[in-house]
């Protein structure tokens, strides 16, 4: 097991390098000049160059990459070109909102989608099935920001149940936290409910055809036991896989949701950084997100072993 984890982490190093290099080059090729962004409207060519110089953007690419990766290895992610804030501090500030959003979203998703999927598979071919599928597919078919606006209109503006926007740390009490995080999470969840419900259904359909399910029925067990103890647990692996990739896919949804609900999270930070060509921030963020991606997938793979005793690493 440990050996496996070690191997996986080793294996992920080249991935991270690929990412780092790729991102670095992509950014440097992208037109866009932090200096111009800093200087504002009135700057003259000379003044721009002055700034570029001080930002070290006139160095040759190789030099820039070497210095950057050098810093990385020493755990230093540098400072934002624009605001001069340390990148790690920026990220630190934005981490909590995004994590909260992601986690609450996943909770909502799992609570709804798994039962939906199981039900659909169990009643395969029935109206219930079609209904469940229709709902989930629908959730998959509406752009996140539209869903968001609709929810805001209904729950925040018309019903006034929740505030329109913003984020409060859970440190400030559950309701302040929950009332602000719920709508965005629900909005974001619509995608994953669709995704995971249909995956659950597919996996369950698979498993329900298995002999051991027939055995379980032959033992005279109640359908509930058959479905959840015998079938679902065997269907867990593919579902987990989707949950994993779901997390990875989430970032794009996060970007939009965060700006619709004004949540100061990583997603918005990233878009701002990209639009402002704030290189150190973008690089750090993308490394971070891909790191998260790698780790989540590792965790998922490990969890397989707990779900299915046949899997050993």
């Amino acid at each position: 097991m440990l050996a496996y984890i070690a191997r996986r982490i080793l294996a992920s190093i080249p991935v991270m390098i690929v990412v780092a290099l790729f991102v670095f080059l992509l950014l440097r090729l992208t037109p866009g000049d932090p200096a111009a962004i800093i200087a504002g409207d009135m700057a003259t060519p000379a003044q721009l160059d002055q700034i570029r110089q001080s930002l070290g953007l006139n160095e040759p690419l190789v030099t820039q990459f070497v210095t950057w990766s050098g810093q990385l290895l020493s755990g230093d992610f540098g400072r934002s070109l624009i605001s001069k804030t340390p990148v790690l501090r920026l990220i630190g500030q934005r981490l909590e909102p995004t994590l909260s959003l992601a986690i609450v979203t996943m909770l909502i998703t799992l609570l709804l989608s798994i039962p939906m999927g199981v039900l659909a598979a169990w009643r395969h071919g029935s109206l219930t099935d079609s209904a469940v599928m229709a709902i989930s597919v629908l959730g998959f078919s509406i752009p996140v920001f539209v869903t968001g606006y609709i929810f805001i209109q209904i729950f925040a503006i018309d019903l006034r149940i929740f505030p329109v926007q913003g984020f409060k740390s859970i440190g400030e009490g559950f309701w302040p936290f929950f009332s602000r995080i719920f709508l965005p999470a629900l909005t974001l969840a619509t995608i994953y409910i669709a995704l995971i419900a249909r995956m659950t259904r597919a996996a369950m359909l698979d498993v329900l055809g298995e002999d051991y399910v027939r055995t379980a029925r032959a033992k005279g067990l109640s359908e509930r036991v058959v479905l959840f103890r015998h079938a679902l647990r065997n269907a867990a692996v593919p579902i987990l896989t989707v949950v994993g990739t779901g997390f990875a896919l989430m970032i794009s949804g996060v970007v939009v949701t965060e700006s619709v609900f004004n949540i100061p999270g990583l997603g918005r930070l990233t878009v701002d950084a990209i639009l402002a060509r704030d290189y150190p921030v973008i690089q750090a963020l993308i490394l971070l997100t891909s790191g998260i991606y790698v780790v989540i997938n590792l965790l998922i793979d490990i969890s397989y072993a707990f779900m299915d005793p046949r899997i050993r690493y």
């Binding site: 992920s12 080249p14 991935v15 991270m16 690929v18 990412v19 790729f22 991102v23 992509l26 950014l27 090729l29 992208t30 037109p31 866009g32 395969h124 071919g125 029935s126 099935d129 079609s130 599928m133 229709a134 597919v137 629908l138 998959f140 078919s141 509406i142 752009p143 996140v144 920001f145 539209v146 606006y149 209109q153 995704l195 249909r198 995956m199 259904r201 597919a202 996996a203 359909l205 698979d206 055809g209 593919p238 896989t241 989707v242 990739t245 779901g246 990875a248 970032i251 794009s252 970007v255 939009v256 700006s259 990233t270 878009v271 990209i274 639009l275 993308i286 997100t289 891909s290 991606y293």
Partner: protein
């Protein structure tokens, strides 16, 4: 012999043979509806120049944000352009983006996947790169690429497609890995078929079913991504109306003139809904297992 033919084994068949029938009979209603809906959208797209009452980019600032009327069924946008006409033309772009993305992703992903599935070393290298690509949040990659190459239809298309490719590759690869163990592949080896022939004749066909399913999902998500890109200001320029940028230009007026978002949104959702339903049907008929395809 004849009577032996009737002895075709029934037990294993029970599950296999009957489920698809049911699946089809159940889904017959929904997919038909979806197909019709999609067909209509395609027609709208193709004949937009004939149907559309106005030039989609001809603006008339004097009657901006006009409410829905006979002149402007969906009203006008902030530039006084006819939203109905724009929505029709938007269908063109969105379909191009969707189908284009699906097509290109498959076109590129299939061969890569085949190779990866067959040669260990290619697999090792290629998959690292693919993991790398997958690890980068697609939307960010897209934004970066768009601002890199300027936001034309084609760059957006590329930007949307690239992140999809790894998923296709993985899918194809997994199919190949399982299919190459099939006795009939071994049989082909035994009769001295070349690697290419084996890939092309015996392995590729296996990937088609999952690819169709995957393709529909790519198509759907591509159309959505285009909308999101527009939302984030990295979409196709306003002179090429797409459902995405119509909505993002209208979203400011969401509470006052919901139509600006509603109509293109409706078209977009119907379109994706139909595609997804067809995809699901394809999957249910072909093999429920393929649901995994989406996740790649």
């Amino acid at each position: 012999m004849a009577d032996k033919a009737t002895l075709a084994s029934a037990e294993p068949v029970i599950r296999r043979r009957f489920l698809p029938q049911i699946a089809v009979s159940r889904l017959r209603f929904a997919p038909t509806l979806a197909a019709i809906c999609l067909a209509l959208i395609v027609v709208a797209a193709v004949f937009a120049p004939l149907i559309a009452p106005y030039d989609p980019i001809a603006m008339n600032p004097m009657e901006r944000l006009a409410p829905a009327s006979w002149a402007h069924p969906f009203g006008t946008d902030p530039y006084g352009r006819d939203v109905f006409s724009r929505t029709l033309y938007g269908a063109q772009i969105s379909l191009i983006v969707g189908l284009g993305a699906a097509f290109v992703a498959v076109l590129v992903g299939l061969p890569l996947g085949l190779l990866a599935g067959f040669f260990r070393w290619i697999d090792a290298v290629l998959m690292r790169i693919m993991d790398g690509l997958m690890a980068i949040p697609s939307i960010l990659l897209a934004i970066a690429i768009v601002s890199l190459a300027g936001s034309s239809l084609w760059t957006v298309l590329v930007a949307i497609t690239i992140p999809e490719i790894p998923r296709v590759v993985r899918l194809v690869r997994s199919v190949v890995l399982s299919a190459r163990e099939e006795p009939y592949v071994e049989a082909a080896i035994a009769v001295g078929s070349s690697l290419f022939k084996i890939m092309w004749r015996h392995l590729t066909p296996n990937t088609i079913a999952p690819l169709i399913v995957q393709g529909t999902y790519v198509c759907a998500s591509a159309i959505l991504t285009e909308a999101i890109l527009s939302f984030l200001g990295a979409g196709i320029g306003t002179e090429t109306p797409s459902w995405g940028n119509i909505m993002s230009e209208g979203r400011l007026y969401f509470q006052l003139k919901p139509g600006l978002v509603f109509w293109p949104g409706l078209f977009l959702s119907l379109c994706i809904l139909s595609i997804n339903i067809l995809g699901d049907t394809a999957r249910d008929v072909m093999d429920p297992r393929l649901g995994k395809g989406r996740a790649g």
